[in-house]
Symmetry: C2
Subunit: 245 residues, 2 copies
DNA sequence: CGCGTACTTGATGTGCATCAAATGGTGTGG
DNA sequence: CCACACCATTTGATGCACATCAAGTACGCG
């Protein structure tokens, strides 16, 4: 099973000095295992922790009063969530495990202290945040202005990219770790319509499916269908001052 | 005309020490005036500045290749935008003025330097960011899972709240500074349907309209229709260490 | 083997888009 | 001051994308 620390994640954005890396690793908090379906945080829970996914796959979502659900984000190893604890006493969203997962809990006061002593880390965190914000704006535009087919294509590409960034081999297809209902809750559609769109993408030859495995058969056309933009590869922190000792 | 500096905005979240306030005010950069419709940043522009709206009203948005537009955020005096410059060399979104406006430009390197010397400011900025992220999740859930009527109601309440926070008197109604097309681009609807929904809200007695002015006639029911949550009033930074000298 | 959960497929309904045209307000040039 | 153009708003008619409802099928697991 893939495991990544938060230091690894920050390191992807910004080379860390030895003392910075040490500072991040020292704040490493308690681990907690979750089985599929387990809810780590409920909306409105009083929380003062931030979470980093160590292994597995999770999601954050909100529930509306009519019972419907909007998935906000899928969380993969290395991803930070619960940063809203830095501004709110109560969580604005739920977090739950999509499969067996392990998370690491950090107390916000400790995080704040480390950031105060290592300004570059604070900036790196801000940069990570901005990258996620950009991803979120893409999702917003997708929900507001693209077709069902485009949204499904976007979900498939997103999951594929993030599995790959986690080191999985996805070139010959991958097992989609989501039910069609979950895909629907992420893309603002019903499970039934997700099913039809998957079939449509299959009939168009953009993807192939064998049981639970998916192969992105015609990636170029799939990206066009999804109005895909690879933002992560464009992160650029080169303007930042280099690490000290 | 209402004017607010960025220090004012941060101060709403966190009481600043004299030296902190001074630090923020010293980095105050060049001002720039924009007339209605003027585009400050185009998507993919090379930028290294952050912007704070001083007066007026602006918006950030993305354009899709089919020509449609998704408005991501409305920007009011005191609001920060362009923070993506901290992570990207090229802007992921456009920014334009909705009426005569003034913005203040900050170079990211200067901002980074001030944040490094004043850790509490960095944390306050992170908190502001989190508050905006929470607002964005609400919009995401709105686009994915609520009806056209609810989205329009949400836009009206949002604009009202933010005008009020800027010190306008909105209790006896306010002039909606948006065309119906803009409301549609923010809520993922067509201008025609926005019109019908406004009429519907009017017929239901939730709002009243006279010319360009809108009155939120039955606020309680309007909030229920919008599935409204007032997140801003819940920001809580009391856990943070108090200001030094 | 039987049950629950996910997936699949068809029939029908509806919310919003699209197309089209009329109305009203506002600024501009004559 | 009026005529005109331009834009936002309004309203109606029609169409389609996606939701909803309803059955079935396949698969994993006690």
């Amino acid at each position: 099973m893939r495991v990544r620390s938060f230091a690894d994640r920050i390191g992807e954005f910004l080379p860390l000095s030895a003392s910075e890396r040490e500072a991040v690793e020292q704040v490493q908090g308690r681990s907690r295992s979750l089985r599929r379906g387990a809810v780590l945080v409920r909306e409105n829970d009083r929380t003062s922790d931030l979470y980093v996914v160590s292994s597995g796959m999770m999601m954050s979502y909100v529930l509306l009063d009519d019972g419907s659900r909007q998935i906000l984000r899928f969380l993969f190893p290395g991803d930070l969530t619960g940063a809203s604890a830095l501004a709110y006493a109560h969580s604005p969203e739920c977090v739950a495990a999509l499969c067996e997962s392990v998370v690491c809990l950090f107390d916000r006061a400790q995080v704040a202290e480390v950031l105060a002593r290592h300004p570059r880390l604070a900036l790196a965190l801000t940069a990570i945040d901005q990258a996620e914000r950009a991803a979120m704006t893409d999702r917003l535009a997708g929900l507001g202005r693209t077709s069902a087919q485009a949204r499904i294509a976007a979900v498939l590409l997103d999951i594929r990219d993030r599995l790959r960034r986690g080191g999985e081999d996805v070139e010959r297809g991958f097992t989609l770790p989501l039910t069609q209902e979950e895909i629907g809750d992420a893309s603002g559609l019903t499970a039934v319509h997700v099913n039809r769109m998957l079939r449509q993408l299959e009939e168009m030859g953009l993807i192939a499916r064998h049981g639970t495995r998916v192969i992105l058969a015609d990636e170029a056309r799939l990206k066009r269908a999804a109005k895909y933009v690879d933002r992560l590869s464009r992160v650029d922190l080169s303007w930042m001052v280099p690490a000290g000792a």
